[in-house]
Symmetry: C2
Subunit: 422 residues, 2 copies
């Protein structure tokens, strides 16, 4: 994940400077794998093996902890806070277990600990609960928060293989660790649930308080019977506020196949939040991966930089960019937009009509992907339905006008744009 | 929508004071419908018909504009900014058309114009694009941003009725205005797309630059043929950054039925964002309605209040609540959690087994919703699958232990919790 952060910091330097009005500089990278870091384009003089020295360096404002695990991560973060640094971390295990201590220390010193990357990867859920939904009272937060388990369950469901084969497949694809226990036993989900519960309900929960059951005992038989009953099996982290008592549990759960969560496959995460006033909202995205998670780390760094730079207000720009630097957009003419089309022609049902239409379309470079022709053999007006391959709107409009002009069809053809690759 | 804001301000007063460390006071409500406002519990002395006087009152910090339309909303907002007030508005038509002027004035004066409520109702998308995704470069933003059109298309698809009947139905349910043109002709979606494009790509677009086509010409026939071809028809607002040229268009679109957007029905909104590093993320929730939209207005008010109150940093609390006031959670014992269960027993296929299992379950107050029994008539061990009605986990565990103790079944029964009502 550190690699992703470095890539973004180097690759999007201009964008960040535009947002902040000042450059954002990578001051040091502490890693034992010096060559790996150098290969990312980090100058040798910025690379060190001595993390403890970096976190107290006077010229550094923000410390990003991406070691994972409890120690030395905890000690380094506490040391950084004591030295007046803001901190960004993706370490959910640490925050779930020692968050109270860390956040209290930061609050006491007026420092930030950004942790957007610790739940949902790059999918923004921390800020959403903390700020965007602050006006409401949350009643429930639940969802798929471990991409490894979701990949394994998806493979089991789609390929009909047992857990051990699906796990091996996930390991081969880099979606599961060599030691997968933290994921498949549900502990990673429980760590994330601790943070979600704190954000949603304003109370602190420790992992030991969360009933945690993983997916290792799910069988093909159960997946099959679940399907027969109309359900899908997902590993859910579930938090509810039951009038002050918190329900917090992680376990395989059968949910109706029509539920949006049932359609969230592979390494995707998806979280539902239920609020008194807002009702249900849903958030979905890739919950892991070097680059997705790095975007969340950088979002936290940018917010901290904004506050560090602020003399007056540390508020974000209305559109995220300084309004005075925003230009009018160059908008593509609709005629240049390229997509597939659904076409409906109403024509007398006689031989040659389909051919005549196809010929005109072809002369404008529009090729046909599929045709539905109904009622062949009668003498009535019948619909001819076509799906085309990609074509610019200009060509389509000209072709349809010619088809109409030549009176091949009765009324104006209907067309609807298809977005196949959204 | 004003009613919703008033309800939240009065109903969640304690939560907001806890977040801010200071009370948030409703200072005045300007509305011609004085009795309606009074009925919400607003003291008579706070109600006025004179909006122009309110927006310059020295004791007021934040002006919330919920009139809609261009005037007098524009003039009142400019007057409020000139008087040093921060502003919150849900007025997408105004911001799409005159946003440049309004945001420049606010930036010049160091004031905020909050507009989270203007896109996606209470579903947080403004902050998400502006802050949470700031580390990434966005390539596309698209989705269903008008709940009225989505309701109408859902009704047409599910009930097989034509547009005019579905519109009348939506009007009867309060989901469409008496004059529905702004919604069904796509203009409301285009206004929202202007704001999404500005947030995603950092450029300004006017509604006149957006190709806009509504849903009035969609027929049952087209919906039927779309289904045959494997597609659903949705009104999409689509914004893409094609290397500096912006694609911005609103029109009925056929999308594959397997796409998550195809499953977003009724008054729900859903927005996809594609980023270089993050890939696709999706956000869904109720895009309209008094209370959902009010939560977004209040989130903006809270953020402004935080900045107004800040002496040092205006940063939000790590979990949204002051860490020192956060208590340890009272967590419900798993034994007290109530849900439905999927049960799988492996038993010799002989008469009476099913009855014996059901009897034990019944003695613990667990009733059976459905049963699948396979292989009747053979002498092998066969699975008996059951779905139960709601029961506490304590009862289930005791019943399963008794079934095992009485040797009614061969091996330990498997069970998976069902969440039917998530």
């Amino acid at each position: 994940m550190g690699g992703g952060v470095v890539k973004l910091m180097l690759g999007n330097r201009d964008k960040y400077e535009r947002i902040l009005g000042a450059p954002l500089q990578l001051a040091a990278v502490a890693d034992l794998r010096v060559k790996l870091v150098a290969a990312l384009g980090v100058p040798a003089k910025l690379i060190t093996r001595d993390a403890a020295a970096v976190v107290t360096r006077p010229d550094i404002d923000v410390v990003v902890e991406l070691f994972g695990g409890y120690e030395p991560a905890r000690a380094l973060i506490m040391k950084a806070l004591a030295a007046g640094k803001d901190v960004v971390t993706a370490n959910k295990a640490l925050l779930a277990e020692h968050g109270g201590e860390i956040f209290r220390e930061a609050a006491k010193r007026g420092l930030a600990v950004g942790f957007e990357a610790s739940v949902g990867g790059g999918m923004p859920i921390v800020r959403t609960l903390r700020e965007a939904l602050a006006g409401d009272r949350q009643r429930a937060v639940y969802g798929i928060v471990n991409g490894t388990c979701n990949s394994i369950l998806t493979t089991m469901t789609e390929d009909g293989v047992e857990f051990s084969a699906a796990l091996a497949d996930a390991q081969a694809k880099g979606l599961a660790e060599a030691n997968p226990a933290l994921d498949v036993e549900g502990h990673d989900s429980a760590h994330k649930l601790c943070l979600l519960v704190a954000l949603a309900f304003g109370v602190l929960v420790k992992p030991a308080q969360i009933y945690t059951e993983g997916i290792t005992r799910i069988t093909q038989a159960d997946i099959g019977y679940a399907r027969e009953l109309g359900y899908a099996i997902k590993l859910l982290a579930i938090g509810k506020d039951d009038d002050g008592t918190i329900e917090a549990r992680v376990h395989p759960t059968m949910i109706p196949q029509r539920h949006l969560l049932a359609g969230v496959g592979g390494a995707f995460n998806a979280i539902y939040i239920h609020g008194d006033a807002l009702g249900a909202t849903m958030y979905s995205g890739l919950g892991a991966g070097e680059m997705p998670t790095a975007t969340a780390v950088v979002a936290d760094i940018l917010e901290i930089a904004r506050h560090r730079l602020a003399e007056g207000s540390a508020r974000a720009h209305a559109f995220g960019f300084p309004i005075d630097l925003m230009k009018g957009a160059r908008v593509k003419p609709m005629d240049d937009v390229v997509c597939e089309y659904y076409l409906r022609f109403m024509a007398r049902d006689k031989p040659g009509v389909l051919g005549a239409i196809a010929t005109v379309l072809g002369s404008y470079g529009i090729s046909i992907a599929s045709v539905i022709q109904k009622g062949r053999g009668t003498a009535q007006t019948v619909p001819i339905i076509m799906r085309t391959h990609d074509a610019p709107e200009r060509s389509l409009k000209r072709a349809l006008a010619e088809i109409r002009r030549k009176k091949i069809v009765h009324s104006a053809p209907a067309f609807i744009r298809i977005e196949e690759k959204l």
